[in-house]
Symmetry: C2
Subunit: 205 residues, 2 copies
DNA sequence: CTGATTTCTTGATTTAAATCAAGAGCGCCC
DNA sequence: GGGCGCTCTTGATTTAAATCAAGAAATCAG
């Protein structure tokens, strides 16, 4: 959903409670029982490579946490695909405006590989606030954090060249580069595959 | 703080309750007494043209609603100013990450004209949630809305030319074009003043 | 009102990045 | 294992936008 993700691979090994750990990590202090209440609303949900998690124009009726796999968020603009973001393990994935405001989804979200998700329905999601005191505040802080990450991303387009954006993103997301078609990363950084390839060559040698 | 603003000039004439109207407008349904509780925490705050509302690196200890005037949010990057946003009447202005997470401010915020603000201190702001039931939920929705606006802005950098960004922004913010130095708008749209000037010429004639 | 900044425009030139075009590498499936 | 469809690379060329350089307009201060 945005550029915020747990960055503690060691947590990912504790399969049992990855979701709980993540909620803890993202949303901060919460009573153990509340943590359990929240995570129990999520259900294991597997999707195969190529399957659409969401199609633009539809209503997004779920929020998912990625345990494994990669999903691409993109639009079709004048026949061209524009990749907005690639979500990887540790991210939440949804169309926030559609989930929250019941507007038609703006994004296509498609699995780039077989994915293992924890998914909560829109109805259950909208109910968390009633079950867990303080939930809205935690979620507010989470979304605010996502907001500031997007601010930075905008700033990168105002102040950096394609090469600088490449270097900045590569430094923070090395692992993505050998897991997804590079053209998608190129698009996400606002450049063509050709430009991406040339910059990449420079940075390898 | 982002691209979300009331767009009902008729409301601005009702001076008495502009702030309340705006809170109502932004944050949705609220009991009249809660609305009053919130708005009473804001205090009139005038700043002169050129004065800094915030300097980057400092802590942002307030949140303001703009009744009148314009403020520019920018950074200094390698000796160059990069304008992130221009806030106008109807907007809230703050450094969200500094306000919420007590990090050093990332932005400089400077008055482009004499400004008339309603300001709430960080302490009072952080207390609203205790005074007004449901506040965090409303604020969450507000920030989520801001988030989706930034998503769109990023998308515009991935999919549009400088000229398209100009046209898109102009359509929605005509009034800004004769109120602020155009170089700031140029920077905000990610182009040089020269490019901006040439595009503008085309669109005028 | 006037001189001094600041802001904007315009033209010439350069540069970064896009586009066009072709080929290479590689996984995949029958 | 050979052919087919992606994906990536590389080179040649074009183009959008940046940079450089002056002037013109507008704004501001005294």
């Amino acid at each position: 959903m945005c550029g915020l993700r747990i960055d503690k691979p060691e947590l990912r090994r504790i399969t049992m409670s990855l979701l709980e750990q993540s909620i803890h990590n993202y949303f901060g202090l919460m009573q153990a029982q509340d943590l359990h209440t929240v995570s129990s609303l999520f259900h294991v949900h597997e999707i195969k490579k190529g399957v659409f998690f969401l199609k633009s124009g539809k209503s997004c009726d779920k929020l998912s946490f990625i345990q494994n796999g990669l999903l691409r968020i993109y639009t079709l603009q004048d026949g061209k695909e524009v990749t907005q973001w690639i979500s990887s393990p540790g991210y939440f994935v949804t169309d926030l405006s559609s989930l929250m405001f019941d507007t038609p989804a703006r994004w296509n979200i498609q699995a780039l590989s077989d994915c293992s998700l924890y998914t909560i329905s829109k109805a259950d999601y909208k109910n968390i606030g009633k079950l867990v005191p303080g939930w809205h505040e935690l979620e507010k802080l989470f979304i605010a954090k996502c907001f500031t990450i997007l601010e930075d991303r905008i700033h990168s387009h105002l102040s950096m060249s394609a090469e600088e954006r490449y270097a900045y993103f590569f430094e923070r997301n090395k692992e993505l580069f050998n897991q997804v078609p590079l053209q998608y990363i190129a698009s996400m950084l606002g450049m063509t595959p050709e430009t991406f390839s040339r910059i990449r060559k420079k940075h390898i040698s």
